[in-house]
């Protein structure tokens, strides 16, 4: 097994478990009742999204390990992983920024983080174009 795949797998698993644990710990159900019904909200959503990001890293690592074992190669796995991670982060932080605008507490941090994730997407797309050029 390649060292990079093993590191990716350990890093992804550690991140995933940590974020999920943090999310569960922060889950002090916030019951809000009105005359009509009950709203049940949980803790920090960021941890849930970050656990998903780490889950994508685990998936990429597992696919690479399968590649090694079966001696086959799948095209664009890394770039697809980057695009998924970038999209997930960009969309989530954009949603958070828009929410903050409607709440009247405009937070530019969400927009900035969103742009950073867009950079990750563009990096993934560039990798696909590079691979296509190399293939030609």
């Amino acid at each position: 097994m390649k060292k990079t795949n093993l590191i990716l797998l350990i890093l992804g698993s550690f991140g995933f478990l940590s974020c999920l644990s943090y999310y569960i710990i922060s889950t002090i159900p916030n019951f809000y009742s009105d005359s009509y019904g009950t709203s049940i909200a949980y803790g920090n959503k960021d941890y849930l999204v970050w656990s998903m990001l780490f889950l994508i890293i685990i998936s990429v690592a597992i696919i690479h390990i399968i590649e090694e074992r079966k001696k086959i190669r799948f095209l664009n796995i890394n770039s697809a992983g980057l695009i998924f991670i970038g999209s997930l982060g960009a969309i989530y932080y954009l949603a958070k920024a828009i929410e903050s605008v409607f709440d009247g507490e405009t937070s530019y941090l969400g927009f900035v983080i969103s742009i950073l994730f867009v950079l990750i997407i563009s990096f993934g797309v560039a990798m696909i174009f590079d691979a296509k050029k190399a293939h030609k």
């Binding site: 019904g37 049940i40 949980y42 849930l48 998903m52 696919i63 799948f74 999209s87 409607f102």
Partner: protein, 221 residues
């Protein structure tokens, strides 16, 4: 079953469900001021539709289930009269809504394997409309069964049946139109995204260096 649920399929389901969840969150963020009783105009359904056409109905339904569970994990709203009614309401509003969209995969064979591109697109539209309208049906039934209290109605309605179809239709129809348009665009521009995985952008199988060496040896021989 073996060919349907390999590691790649599961990875795709997880990734698309995650993207669908954040797309839903994004749509919820900008639609909240308009649709105060829930619902949003967005393209989260596209993730379920892509998986349904790409990997089949079961995979599409599973993607929808995960999206629904993520929605619940994020927080939800229940009518707390009795626990079984609340459970049924959560089932209709969260668990069953997105999986119904995955049933668009039933039209997969017709939408992908036809030689005529126009027929492909026509079946793609049929699938999107079918899945979208089923989701609308789920929200409509939830509306008349659980949310039928005139005190909570907006836009000046008093009839629960009419209110449910107008309110849910007001955000579901734009969603269906948006997703259908996007699927047509994908079907025309990048049809490989909707096709079987062996010929797709994400997971293309190619020969390794070892295989190439073997191939070269054969050629030499």
């Amino acid at each position: 079953m073996k060919s349907t649920f390999n590691i790649k399929t599961m990875a795709e389901i997880a990734m698309f469900a995650a993207i669908g969840y954040v797309l839903d969150a994004l749509a919820g963020a900008y639609s909240a001021p308009i649709f105060v009783n829930g619902g949003s105009i967005g393209i989260a359904m596209i993730c379920v539709l892509i998986v349904a056409y790409r990997r089949g109905t079961l995979a599409g339904v599973l993607t929808g289930v995960i999206m629904g569970l993520l929605d619940i994990a994020d927080g939800f709203y229940v009518i707390a009269s009795t626990w079984y009614l609340s459970l049924a309401q959560v089932f209709f509003d969260y668990i069953i809504a997105y999986p119904l969209v995955g049933l668009a995969g039933l039209f997969r064979k017709f939408a992908i394997n036809q030689k005529n591109k126009k027929i492909n697109i026509a079946w793609l539209i049929v699938g999107c409309l079918f899945g979208g309208l089923l989701k609308l049906g789920s929200h409509y039934f939830s509306g008349i069964l659980f949310w039928n209290d005139p005190a909570s109605f907006v836009w000046g309605f008093s009839n629960g049946y009419l209110y449910s179809i107008i309110y849910n239709g007001a955000y579901m129809l734009p969603c269906i139109i948006l997703c259908t348009a996007l699927m047509i665009f994908i079907g025309k521009k990048w049809p490989m995204i909707l096709r079987e995985p062996n010929s797709t952008l994400l997971f293309k199988k190619v020969a390794t260096n070892n295989d190439n060496k073997e191939g070269n040896t054969h050629e030499k021989n």
